[in-house]
C-alpha cells in the first residue's frame, strides 16, 4: 500500500513495532560509538532495534502513521537505513563509503563556491609587482569587488592573462574605462591613450620589468578575477598592500587628483 512504499516496510510493521517498544525499553549502556549515536537518537540499544525490526517485518496490522514518527523522531525508513549503515557487513561498508563520498562531494562543492565567489589564496611568482609583492608571497584575494564592479584605480587585482588564458597575472589597476592613461610617464614627450569601454589598464608596480597593458593593451574587465586585500606570507612583510609607487602616479592623472 502507499504507506508501505513510504516507510520501506509494510505499514503493519509500524503498529507492531510500537506495541513492542511500548513496554520494557532497555537503557543505553556502554556501546560502540556508532551504536551510541543511534541510541541517543532513538533511546534504544541498537541490538534491540535490529532484532525488533527483523522480527516484525512479516506481521500484519492496521495503519498508525504518526506514532512511529513521534516515538523515534523520524521515519522508520531512516531507522532502517541507519541500522543498515551502523551494523557490520559488506552492505554496511558500501553504505558508509557512499556516505563518505556524499560528504566529500558536498564539502568539495562548498569549497569550490567559496573559492570561486568569496575569497581565495594566491601564490605569486614573478618580479613585476616588486617591491609590493615578491615571488612566493601568499595573498588573500576577494571576489566581491570585481563582481560588484567596485574596483578602484590603485587596487591590485588578479586577472587572466590576455595572451594566455591558462595563467593569471597580478597587476595594479591604473585606469578604468573612460580614463586617460599615459603610456610612458618617464619620457619627455608623453603619449596618452583612452581606456575603452569595458576595459581596464593594468600596470605592474615594477614598471621597468613588467609586461602589462603597456605591452598588450587594455584588458577586458571580464578577465578580472579578484582583488588582493591582504598579504599573509612572509610574516615579516604581511598586512595590507602598499600604495602605488611614485612613478605610477603619473600614469593616470586622476590618481594624482585623489592623492593616492
Amino acid at each position: 500500500m502507499g504507506d508501505g512504499d513510504r516507510y520501506g516496510c509494510p505499514i503493519a510493521t509500524l503498529q507492531s513495532d510500537i506495541r513492542m517498544f511500548s513496554g520494557g525499553e532497555q537503557p543505553c549502556g556502554r556501546l560502540l560509538p556508532w551504536s551510541a549515536m543511534l541510541c541517543n537518537r532513538y533511546g534504544y540499544q541498537i541490538a534491540t532495534l535490529q532484532s525488533d525490526i527483523r522480527m516484525f517485518w512479516r506481521t500484519a496490522g492496521s495503519r498508525v502513521e504518526g506514532c512511529c514518527r513521534d516515538r523515534y523522531g523520524c521515519q522508520i525508513a531512516t531507522l532502517q537505513s541507519d541500522i543498515r549503515m551502523f551494523s557490520g557487513g559488506l552492505r554496511a561498508a558500501v553504505w558508509k563509503a557512499a556516505a563518505v563520498v556524499g560528504y566529500a562531494v558536498q564539502y568539495g562543492c562548498i569549497a569550490h563556491c567559496t573559492l570561486e565567489y568569496a575569497a581565495d589564496f594566491i601564490v605569486c611568482s614573478g618580479p613585476s609587482m616588486e617591491p609590493t609583492i615578491h615571488t612566493q608571497d601568499v595573498l588573500i584575494t576577494e571576489k566581491f569587488s570585481v563582481m560588484m564592479k567596485t574596483v578602484n584605480v590603485g587596487d591590485v587585482v588578479i586577472a587572466r592573462s590576455p595572451t594566455n588564458p591558462n595563467i593569471f597575472i597580478c597587476k595594479r589597476v591604473a585606469g578604468l574605462e573612460g580614463d586617460k592613461v599615459c603610456l610612458n610617464p618617464g619620457s619627455f614627450i608623453k603619449k596618452y591613450r583612452w581606456v575603452p569601454r569595458g576595459h581596464v589598464w593594468l600596470v605592474g608596480d615594477n614598471m621597468g620589468n613588467s609586461s602589462d597593458s603597456r605591452v598588450y593593451g587594455p584588458v577586458p574587465y571580464a578577465l578580472l578575477r579578484s582583488k588582493v586585500v591582504f598579504k599573509v606570507w612572509p610574516p615579516g612583510d604581511s598586512g595590507s598592500l602598499r600604495g602605488p609607487p611614485q612613478e605610477m602616479l603619473q600614469v593616470l592623472r586622476t590618481m594624482k587628483d585623489t592623492g593616492r
Binding site: H112, R160, P162, N166, L223
Partner: protein
C-alpha cells in the same frame, strides 16, 4: 510546532547541500540558456520561428580554453563585461583572417587582413551585417570564452548536436595567400 521546526531544519540542511552542489555543477559541467538576438542567423534563432532557440552550454569542454575553429561559443562581451554573446570562432591564435568591414565607425585596421595574436581568437556571428563581433572590436582574448554551445535543445524540431563548421566564405587564410599578402605588407599584426 514540532513538525514546522523539523520541516524548516530539513529544508535548511537541504538548501545548504543543494545550492553549492548546483552552483558547482553549473560552473564545471554546463547549463542551458536561451539565445537572444539575430546575430547568429540562420543557424540560431532563424527568422521563420517565433520563439528563440535554447542551447546547451558546455563548460567542461572549455575548462582548458581549447576552442576549435567553427565552434559556437558563448563569451563575455569585451564591451560590456556583464553581457554574454554567442558567436562562432573563425580564427585562432596565429591565424590570419580577412576583416570584413560591416558597419561605419568600426575599428579600422590599416589593412583588411589581421593576424590573430597569441591567446586570442576571432569570433563572428553568422549573420553578416547584423552582428557585433570581432569585425567590430577586434580579436578577443580566449579567456573571455565561457562555454561551448554543444546542442540546440528547443524547439524540439530543431533538436540537434552543434558540430563545429566554418561558413564557406569565412575562415583563416592558407599559408600561400598569407605569404603573398605579407610580402605586400597587407597584414596587420595587432600590438600584443
Amino acid at each position: 510546532m514540532q513538525a514546522a521546526r523539523r520541516y524548516f531544519k530539513s529544508f535548511a540542511s537541504g538548501f545548504v547541500v543543494a545550492v553549492p552542489v548546483t552552483v558547482t555543477f553549473l560552473d564545471y559541467v554546463g547549463y542551458v540558456a536561451r539565445v537572444e538576438g539575430a546575430s547568429m542567423q540562420p543557424f540560431l534563432n532563424p527568422e521563420d520561428r517565433s520563439f528563440n532557440d535554447v542551447v546547451l552550454l558546455n563548460r567542461w569542454s572549455v575548462r582548458n580554453f581549447k576552442v576549435n575553429r567553427g565552434d559556437v561559443v558563448s563569451l563575455a562581451s569585451p564591451r560590456d563585461p556583464e553581457q554574454r554573446i554567442i558567436k562562432r570562432v573563425i580564427g585562432l591564435e596565429g591565424d590570419t583572417v580577412k576583416h570584413t568591414f560591416q558597419m561605419p565607425g568600426t575599428r579600422t585596421y590599416k589593412n583588411r587582413y589581421v593576424r590573430v595574436p597569441s591567446g586570442h581568437c576571432w569570433v563572428e556571428g553568422d549573420n553578416f551585417g547584423h552582428s557585433l563581433d570581432s569585425n567590430f572590436f577586434g580579436p578577443v582574448s580566449v579567456g573571455l570564452v565561457h562555454a561551448r554551445a554543444s546542442h540546440i535543445l528547443w524547439p524540439p524540431q530543431r533538436w540537434q548536436r552543434i558540430e563545429p563548421s566554418l561558413p564557406t566564405d569565412r575562415g583563416p587564410l592558407d599559408q600561400e595567400t598569407i605569404d603573398h599578402l605579407e610580402e605586400q605588407g597587407a597584414v596587420t599584426i595587432p600590438k600584443t
